[in-house]
């Protein structure tokens, strides 16, 4: 793992453990970036970059997915699990 994404990984891991803070991703991302020391040149990518651009920073794929979901930019369409689970 490169040093670059370590701060991003720490930030996303925090959000995994503290789901009540995920609203900050949309509402106050700069506060999160400051809290975890995310490098300046990574911030714009996190806010506006594509899946592949975020991945290119060295961010773990599972964390890319989580970040994009919390940012309102999911890579896969949402669906109702009940479509399947109601017919088990």
């Amino acid at each position: 793992m490169t040093a670059g994404p370590d701060a991003i990984h720490a930030m996303i891991e925090h959000l995994v453990r503290q789901p009540q803070h995920r609203g900050q991703v949309k509402q106050a991302p700069e506060e999160l970036f400051e809290q975890f020391g995310v490098p300046q040149d990574h911030r714009a990518v996190l806010l506006n970059g594509s899946r592949d651009e975020i991945s290119a920073l060295g961010v773990h794929g599972n964390y890319v997915i989580k970040w994009l979901i919390w940012s309102g930019r999911p890579t896969m369409p949402f669906f109702a699990m009940s479509h399947f689970f109601d017919r088990r």
Binding site: M1, H9, E13, V16, R51, D52, I54, S55, V59, H60, G61, N62, Y63, V64, I65, K66, L68, T75, M76, P77, F78, F79, A80, M81, S82, H83, F84, F85, R87, R88
Partner: protein, 271 residues
Amino acid sequence: MGQLVGAFAMSHQLGAPDGVEDQAERVFAGMKQIGARIRALAPDVIVVVTSDHLNNFSLGDPAPFAIGTAEQFTPLGDMGLPQDPIPGCADFAQALLAFATEQGISMAKADPVLPDHGVMIPLGIVDPQRRIPAVPLYVNTVFYPDPSPADCRALGAVVRRFIEQTELPAARVVLLAAGGLSHWVGMAGEGTVNEAWDRAFLEDIAQARVDHMAGRDSADILAVAGNGGLEIAAWITVAGAVPDMAGECLFYEAIPEWATGMAGVEWKPLT
């Protein structure tokens, strides 16, 4: 003495049915078929061999192998999955952990753990009533390059020996591998399915080519089947537990819209 009464594998994903309705139904029917077969075996415990998705583990503290030892688990509820508790099998899990450690396997205790979809999609379909005790056995492929396919095969062999020597009352055991096949998660290539690679792996399962599976290289898997393709480690673990069995493929669908190949297998004794 314990008894391994069944060994199965299935993908641990589901996706939006829109535009792939027929494939989605075939996959779901196959998953339910596996569930019916497992329930018919009346197991005392289902060992779900799967990978977590960094919902319970940390990149800073890698745990390629880990086991949930709780009496009961509350699912994470990711992907909108139900969070009703599921029964664990603490005595079995703790004894397996101790046995594996004695056998030289480095295995962490995952406690507390909130099983994510890697456990709960397959288990939720296999046991909708949440009555059968389950033990999540994590083969965490998110900590690439570990564990290697060879390590997974060795783990499977240890699990089999444990089952056959245990005197615990939870004696009838089903192994259920969950994960795979080819898919790229959160990286370039997401939405690609390498159907030829998927089918070649399923043929390895069908022909009981455990040596070949265990001889695969994680870097090669990553290159041609994606980071999610590494989840075949769970299947290799179960294959390592049943080298005397061959896998019958119950369903396979390449579904790029779900960003993965979807399959289900039941292992049966070699004839």
